[in-house]
Symmetry: C2
């Protein structure tokens, strides 16, 4: 029974936590009761997103260090298949790429994107709820910033970090509005590259002229994650960020999720196999009418 | 009240029919009762599909002629945005491309693909059910054969005609299995082109070696639709085709449709706006738990 794990999890038992994530992913018996029993928590979710190759994992790695230094407990969920954190999920083998894998204050888990409509794992909300109950201070969700996953991460995260590199110039122009809408802070990583300053200037100029000439105040910071440079500033931003602002994307995400869960609940007794069988019987009897069938089902 | 139209429609009133299609598309009040009241009919649905430029519309035009000659009443639904039949839907203006538009035995309607998951109109099943009740002998559904629409057309149609042209050579190799699975007959149109015979030979050879070395008997006929050549043979095939065979695709399509309709019925009382409002209240009160919310909704 999943509920038995709850005290263990609240006390920070990593093995129980890992087991519960798997049980939730597999919708093990009682997982809904278990999720209902989770206490409300004020832990914050940090989204780290951006194009492949921007150095999201290296940045996350450095960020973990800074936050742990400050006494914070950190969970990392990785739904980015290109991330080194995700090698385990990809190779079926837990290659420990990071010094943090065995640190008592840090929990790292790779998630498949299976079954998800967008880019994130279909149980991502449930899993972050579980991690919140496990008394982590921050839950970092790393994901490739493409398409639907952007919208999802923005709804899920209290603070969304968009990581770019000086080479992202062209991408910015096309992804512009999407990224501006979701970013709470831009990180220009690998900022020791020659055209970094020009890139930051361009980015700031784009941000200064938001959609319909609104002025958008999104901070831009430079980092060299591989040398831990600029990461202190990023950690400071996260620690002081005001996450109480109204978040329409969070409500939209939760509404879609709730709607889907209500469908699942109400359709539990309907099996497609049974539908097919009954439709076939009526087709063979030559008296199938779709809307009568529905009405009487 | 939609039901009042039924006697008119059964007597072949074209105006009532056109009106009812629009009312069904717009889910006008009572449309479900109306659909339940439709009598079972033995009218056959003919799917005409294939790549853009294969001459599907010209072939359909010629086929209408042959079937009308034989005293058949024909309805044509066009969900192919590239079809001349569809100019009205595209240009917002009913350009009459075909001599059949005003013929008493023929009804032509263009449908948007709006709201459909695959390539076909989201009310295509309902509309074909309506046309069956309107005492047409054949309902021709013309659609571009790409992606999801192929699967849908194969589920919907009693006979599926796949139209190719000699230039389709490369396409065949890639679309091969998909087209072989759905085709009841292949039409090689524009067969006066130089490499037509070679193309037919290649196609027959591919068909002779189906998946897992099964031998597939799908007839291949040559047409020059613009000169009405080969169309008599096609009409003869349609008229004598055995459509009583078990059709797993039809059952799959109806199962998916029925499942979605049951969801719609059971979710009628759930509005996303209301969900958002209640989620927001609980978020602001600081005690939102997704699974408790669902349980108590």
């Amino acid at each position: 029974m999943l509920l038995h794990f709850l005290p263990d999890i609240q006390q920070g038992n990593i093995k129980s936590l890992a087991r519960c994530i798997s049980l939730i992913e597999n919708e093990a018996k009682g997982y809904e009761d278990f999720l209902r029993a989770l206490p409300i928590s004020s832990a914050k979710i940090i989204g780290v997103t951006g194009p492949p190759g921007a150095g999201k994992s290296t940045l996350t790695d450095a960020l973990i260090g800074k936050l742990v230094e400050k006494g914070k407990k950190i969970a990392v969920l990785c739904v980015d298949p290109s991330s080194p954190f995700n090698m385990g999920a990809l190779l079926g083998d837990r290659i420990r790429m990071s010094e943090w894998y065995n640190h008592p204050m840090v929990f790292i888990r790779s998630l498949a994107t299976r079954g998800s409509l967008g880019g994130l794992n279909s149980k991502i909300i449930e899993i972050t709820d579980l991690l919140k109950a496990a008394a982590f201070d921050f839950i970092i969700v790393e994901t490739v910033g493409v398409g639907q996953s952007e919208v999802e991460i923005a709804g899920l995260a209290d603070t969304t970090i968009v990581v770019l590199v000086p080479e992202s110039g062209d991408e910015i122009q096309t992804m512009k509005s999407g990224l501006m809408e979701i970013a709470d802070i831009f990180v220009v990583n690998k900022s020791d590259r020659p055209d970094a300053d020009q890139f930051v200037k361009n980015l700031q100029s784009i941000l200064a002229h938001g959609p319909e000439n609104t002025i958008i105040h999104i901070p831009v910071i430079k980092t060299i994650a591989s040398q831990k440079k600029g990461v202190e500033e990023l950690a400071a931003f996260i620690l002081q960020a005001d996450t109480t602002k109204k978040n329409n994307r969070k409500k939209a995400l939760l509404t879609e999720k709730a709607y889907q869960l209500i469908i699942n609940k109400r359709m539990k007794d309907v099996s497609k196999n049974d539908l097919t069988k009954k439709i076939n019987q009526q087709l063979e009897a030559g008296d199938f009418n779709l809307y009568s069938f529905i009405e009487n089902y």
